[in-house]
Symmetry: C2
């Protein structure tokens, strides 16, 4: 039996769908491939835009063209049945996140449908130069917004209670986040839950931060926007201190920087995610920063060293103990060791780059 391929998803949140057709749409639609022909099937609402925007090698079909009878029920299930019935000699391969409701329905109607063993588009993990350029473009925007955060902290003044004054008001996480995101939307990038976490908030890697920013405490700024026009993401983290860093913070910062630099120097095609993570982990331990837990709260280096970035913000390959396979040329990954301690906060430094033949080609 020949293999056909099928996706049901929107292309705003499903990177495979955007990769397949290049057409940005907020609601579920269908992509399918039979032999060498690729199609998307869209509603009349999207038809003309889809024809203009989708990849040249993908043909755009009108949902209405599948339903001769005006009064026929025309929901997603009915449409999927039409498409699979018109191609009866094929089994259908679908992505791992294919919605169960449609899989059960099609199988119940005798369609042979198989879930992909691994990635639906293995090519996504190894970026071509055009994709590398899209991610570099995202990083230029990201760095520009990081510079804005730096500028605000530089301009701010420390008060007697160690809060900061900027632009006539007490400086907060919310104000810095808004200024970062203003810089991003002005250049066509969509910001998501930008992290500006001060002091104890920074001890939780994904705490967005809220309230006053204080002098002499770490301020973790993690910015990860999506460029609207291309769908590719940037991702960058810096840690600042306004005023004077306490000794432990300074020591932790130096340890993280050292771990990051060692990992970057070690990375190249052929290194596994596990190995790269271990370089950073061991470096942090050697600097005196242990990982463990106390009363159910973890401290130290409590996440993986990095992750792939592309049309998803977190995608393969992971750079962590979970990934025992080798990194390959074209993998775009973050390198972001961090240290987190409930007593004083966190430090994280995150760069991004592409794996080349004997090196890690860092974008920033």
């Amino acid at each position: 039996m020949d293999k056909a391929r099928l996706i049901v998803a929107d292309s705003e949140t499903c990177a495979d769908m955007l990769y397949a057709c290049g057409f940005h749409a907020p609601d579920n639609f269908i992509y399918f491939a039979v032999d060498d022909d690729e199609y998307i099937v869209v509603s009349r609402l999207e038809l003309s835009r889809a024809k203009n925007e989708c990849h040249n090698h993908v043909q755009v079909l009108d949902i209405d063209s599948f339903f001769a009878d005006k009064d026929e029920k025309r929901d997603m299930k009915a449409l999927l049945l039409k498409i699979t019935s018109q191609n009866p000699d094929y089994s259908w391969e679908v992505p791992q996140d294919f919605p169960l409701v449609y899989a059960d329905f099609l199988r119940g109607n005798g369609v042979i449908l198989n879930c992909c063993d691994d990635k639906f588009f293995p090519g996504r993990i190894e970026k071509n130069e055009a994709e590398v350029d899209h991610i570099k473009e995202a990083m230029v925007k990201t760095e520009m917004s990081m510079a804005r955060a730096h500028q605000i902290l530089s301009e701010s003044e420390i008060q007697g209670d160690l809060t900061l004054i900027w632009n006539g008001a007490t400086l907060t996480s919310e104000i810095i986040r808004a200024e970062i995101e203003v810089a991003l939307v002005r250049v066509g990038a969509v910001p998501f839950a930008t992290i500006v976490a001060c002091g104890k908030h920074s001890a939780e890697p994904h705490n967005s931060g809220s309230g006053s920013i204080y002098a002499n405490q770490p301020i973790v700024v993690d910015i990860f926007p999506k460029v609207s026009a291309t769908g590719y993401w940037g991702d960058m983290t810096r840690t600042f201190v306004k005023g004077k860093a306490p000794d432990v913070v300074k020591k932790a910062y130096d340890a993280v920087k050292d771990a990051r630099n060692k990992a970057k120097a070690y990375l190249k095609a052929g290194v596994t995610g596990t190995e790269a993570h271990a370089i950073a982990f061991d470096s942090l331990e050697q600097s005196g920063f242990k990982t463990g837990q106390e009363n159910g709260i973890y401290h130290g280096f409590i996440h993986g060293l990095g992750h792939g970035v592309g049309l998803d913000i977190h995608e393969a390959p992971r750079v962590s103990p979970m990934n025992k396979s080798e990194l390959n040329v074209g993998n775009v990954i973050t390198v972001e060791p961090g240290l987190y301690y409930p007593e004083w906060g966190g430090i994280r430094l995150e760069d991004i780059g592409v794996i080349r033949d004997g090196l890690f080609d860092c974008f920033n």
Copy 2:
């Protein structure tokens, strides 16, 4: 066999997950419910934040607590097998968009897993007053950013070639979009693909718009941000003309306004989506605006009258010919008739409100 319930998703893009636990997280995690107990299972990276942020009635479990053996493989499949094995006397109900890869895996290991017939959380469709307030809050932010677009158009000046000058430069879709999104991010709302579509671009309902804005042509502005803190969305569309509207545009605008007002007056609990759509459709036809197609391009009123809004931007109930069921008290829906003609562009007016016992309680 008793029923347990299970979700595997992130809560940034999966509204069911956010509804279930109230915890915002960008990566896949697990929610499950056994008898009256509800749990989420998260990694050490998220553990302390999850404990602080998730609903009181949901208990937070540590992934590591499921794996006694340090060297045991600990991916999502292994974790799901642990959870289902610890509750052997249950069948598992999952949402319609449950990832096929985990369904096939669990079933292959003897777990009884059933896809939900309809909504996983039927309560999501009928908003309580706290949810209504969250959506009203989103609409206040949305309206404020719409006022910014209006202000820019008012301040702009028409040039001899019918382009507009604002703030010393030629006014474009990109500039107005950036100004709208700046206003949104300053108040903690995330903008997505905001539409500022002029002239022929506005003939495609989801065309974001690009390039110069022109006098005497329709400018469709559709703004739909998500409030970061709550996850609830706003949605609003207005159509502007700078200068003088051509007769057909003026007539179409009046027809759409009339259709919107008739639909809003007609809407109440007990009306079906089909009926509400027909009120607007018939009104537009009576005003002389026909729906049809020419050379494969559709024109007229080419989408549904509206859609539910909540933790998803497009959710149940649809207000369209596809939905033959009755609207109920607590449904928050948009009312957004539109007219689209490739020759001159489009008009869309979109309000949002909640279905009450006897009326449509519009928020704007």
